[in-house]
Amino acid sequence: MKKIISTAIAVLIVATGMAQVKFNLIVNAQPPAQLSEWGNRREVLTLIVTGQGAAGNQYKIKTEIKLLDGTVIGSADLAKTPAFTLNSTGTTILVANDVMPLEFMVFTGKYRTSLERTGKLPADNYTICVQPVNIIDYGPLGESICKNFYLATTQLPILMKPYNEEVIDSKKAQTAIIFRWTPVVPRPTSPVTYRIQVFEVLPTQNPVQALRSNQPLLDKEIQGATQFIWQPQLPFLPYDNETKKLPTFIWTIQSLDIDHNPVTRTDGNGEGRSEPLIFFVNPDKNKKPGKGN
């Protein structure tokens, strides 16, 4: 009985001391789909905490991810999440790693499976709600604040033309080569800059090696459009009877955002570069790409 009374008094003291914890939550409307990436970008989620209770008092953050209909699909395990101490100046700024520590977040059903396999939640609209709670029985210390956000993986362009291993007549290639690719999906609010690069593959190189080591013959930035007509202004070397190789090129698109950074740093190579394709330029119609190519 004595224990119960003292616990009740302690809870009352904590509750009284922290009664006025106030959250202000700022969430990017279209954050990175990779949830682990939220912690690397301060602009994704900011929680401003102000409290009028005594400085030094502690609280935890009850974080929930919901669908728009209110179904909770993920919540913080409050037994494991860290406790925070009220700042003496009255204001504390917390970021994604503090508010939504993934190592202590528990997701349900298909959302958990999706997160384990892809690091992402299925493309949809979600709500994140945060509420200050006391560290003993997790009773509320302030209002729950919610913000909506939309998640969809940024899908890099898929290269369309020249298609993989296309053999282009050198007479045509010397005048113009048309490049086409699909746009970044979903289309971002700010225009995407597509950086098209074409690399020559030397006879001693494999295509990806050439991409990673040579200076590009074409390095052009195109804003918004998904086609580029290249006038190579190159006389292509004749068919090499020794190596039996046709002049070979590898091309790719790097997708850049308005700040000139890759649109996605978490998928694939981290450089926002699409899967490259190779094409051949045929100076002699009777020659086909050999095994050497």
């Binding site: 396999r117 298609y163 045509k172």
Partner: protein, 587 residues
């Protein structure tokens, strides 16, 4: 520093020529003495050095609208001898390297001064030695090893390993470094930086060439977080393991089956905290909050024969499937294609066709995208005088709208018709080839729903006379290109001619080419482009070749750009010596 490198390289180039001549003389003198030794030792291969120079002169002075596209100077070396001792032992070298780093994409992008470790592992350079005794091969230095389509194959690793094939068994292991740590430099020029990456790979299985292959693959890569200081800003230290099971069976009558299933466990950021929630892949790696585990598979079945091939290929890559061995692989897709090849009419008709569909959003993490891909190439040799080639390609891409009013829909269609006529005279064969291509590209605006059509017409006429009694072969061509999209019309007309000939008792092969292109964008004034090039291949001795390729390119813009009258001249020179040796042939 660079001047020193170039001077050294040119010195090396001169020494190389002298040495090669000397080598020839020395070879002949020592031939008799070495006859006996040669019975046991055979050396074949090539060695060479190539210099590449590039020049760009832009006008008016100070205008930077056109950027250089080759290194100003570059020297490349190759040394690829294969020493064979008797029947069972061989010692092949594969050394290809360049004096100046020119990386623009990937971990070494922007690097100018490289230390020795970076030079050795730079993808620009290869230093590989593969001594082999019967079924045992030791792999040393740079190796580009492809174990399978889903495990590893696109990256070069500097390290050590083995490839053992006793009877039908297969055991491979390799470990090394695929990239060194590179410090971030804010620049300009900016160096993105990279973490040192260690790699391990192994394959165990059984194989009978042309019959079957069953193998279990393992590939792991791990970055060393402390290997770059300052650390890269946009690159995260990563770790990944792929385990795959691959099988291939080739049955009678050309039937075949190929399949592979793979699981990848990949940590996108080693700096993220360890996760008790996610499954670890112990003892190979521990799960962080950014660790993903996903699957991939591919399956191909079909039949191949002399005149008819047919095959079905299905490939699935889960959205979280990622492998360090294929850094540019785009995951989250399901492809299925049907391929066929038909030879008919006594081999005079050849049809190659494929049709397929690609579906993204397998894991529902992206907006659904559907693509149709179709290709057809139909060649018919109607007679000795007339042949016709027709090709058609289609690529369609469509997604849901997401938060835009309309979804993306891009469709590319290309049709090409290419008849060729050949007339044979007593002293000359005339070849006349015509080609017409129509390319249509429709793109829907996601905000208005309006579709813009981009149409391109290309017509080409080529005439190639072949003189039966002369050592010259000229060719002439004329090309018209027209692209029309709302707001822009581009017209290009090109005239080109080339001449090949041999001289100096066929020791000298020459080829010259001249090309003029007149361009027009909308109602702006014409642009002009003149390209001249020359190939000189000179056989200095039986074993030593001197190859030179010279080009110059003059381009003058119309008044579509400011400053008006902007123009540039580009020159390229590639010259090099190649020495071929084969003691067996020499004997």
């Amino acid at each position: 520093m660079m001047r020193k490198k170039i001077t050294t390289s040119i010195l090396f180039l001169c020494m190389f020529v002298v040495t090669s001549f000397a080598q020839d003389v020395k070879d002949s003198l020592l031939d008799k003495v070495k006859d006996k030794a040669k019975e046991k030792l055979n050396v074949s291969g090539t060695m060479g050095v190539t210099y590449e120079g590039y020049g760009l002169c832009r006008s008016p002075s100070g205008w930077t609208g056109y950027q250089p596209r080759r290194p100003w100077n570059q020297v490349r070396f190759n040394f690829t001898p294969n020493f064979k001792f008797g029947k069972n032992f061989s010692l092949p070298f594969n050394f290809n390297f360049a004096a100046i780093p020119t990386n623009f994409a990937g971990p070494y992008a922007g690097i100018k001064k490289q230390n020795f470790g970076q030079f050795i592992t730079n993808p620009l350079n290869s230093f590989g030695i593969n001594p082999k005794y019967k079924w045992a091969e030791l792999q040393l230095g740079t190796q580009y090893l492809k174990y399978s389509d889903l495990s590893t194959g696109d990256i070069g690793i500097f390290g050590i390993g083995v490839d053992l094939r006793p009877k039908t068994f297969l055991f491979k292991f390799f470990t090394g470094i695929s990239q060194q740590g590179i410090n971030y430099i804010a620049g300009p020029p900016t160096v993105t930086g990279a973490y040192k990456r260690r790699n391990w790979m192994a394959q165990i299985g059984t194989e009978k060439e042309g019959k079957y292959l069953f193998a279990l693959n393992f590939a792991k890569g791990k970055d060393v977080p402390a290997s770059a200081s300052p650390a890269p800003i946009t690159v995260r230290p990563q770790e990944g393991v792929v385990i795959s099971l691959v099988s291939e069976v080739y049955a009678d009558k050309g039937f075949y089956f190929k399949g592979e299933g793979a699981q990848s466990t990949f940590t996108k950021d080693l700096a993220t905290p360890l996760s008790p929630v996610l499954k670890s892949l112990k003892p190979f790696m521990e799960a962080h909050t950014s660790t993903l585990t996903d699957y991939a598979g591919q399956l191909g079945v079909g039949k191949k024969s002399k005149n008819f091939d047919i095959g079905v290929m299905i490939k699935y890559l889960g959205a979280g499937f990622q492998t360090i061995g294929y850094p540019f692989l785009q995951s989250d897709k399901l492809d299925y294609t049907l391929n066929t090849r038909i030879n008919a009419w006594k081999n005079k008709m050849n049809i190659v066709a494929s049709a397929g569909r690609r579906v993204n959003n397998v894991n529902n993490t992206v907006l659904k995208a559907n693509q149709f891909i179709g290709n057809l190439n139909w060649f018919t040799q109607f007679s000795d005088k007339f042949s016709l080639n027709v090709n058609y390609n289609n690529f369609g891409f469509q997604t849901a709208s997401g938060f835009n009013p309309y979804g993306i829909k891009n469709v590319s269609n290309d049709l090409g018709i290419n008849p060729t006529f050949t007339f044979t005279g007593k002293k000359i064969i005339h070849l006349l080839s015509m080609s017409y291509n129509y390319s249509k590209y429709d793109e829907r605006d996601v905000l208005t729903g309006l579709t813009t059509s981009n149409n391109t017409h290309t017509a080409l006429l080529t005439y190639v006379p072949t003189y039966l009694e002369k050592d010259i072969s000229p060719d002439f061509s004329i090309l018209y290109f027209y692209n029309n999209v709302p707001g822009a019309k581009i017209t290009l007309a090109t005239l080109s001619t080339a001449l090949s000939m041999q001289a100096a008792k066929k020791k000298l092969r020459l080829r010259g080419q001249l090309q003029y292109t007149l361009g027009k964008l909308n109602s702006f004034s014409n642009s002009n482009n003149l390209i001249a090039s020359c190939n000189i291949d000179f056989k200095l001795t039986k074993k030593l070749n001197w190859n030179t390729f010279l080009t110059t390119n003059y381009f003058k813009y119309g008044n579509e750009i400011i400053p008006n009258g902007a123009n540039y001249v580009e020159t390229t020179c590639r010259t090099g010596f190649q020495y071929r040796f084969d003691t067996k042939k020499a004997k």
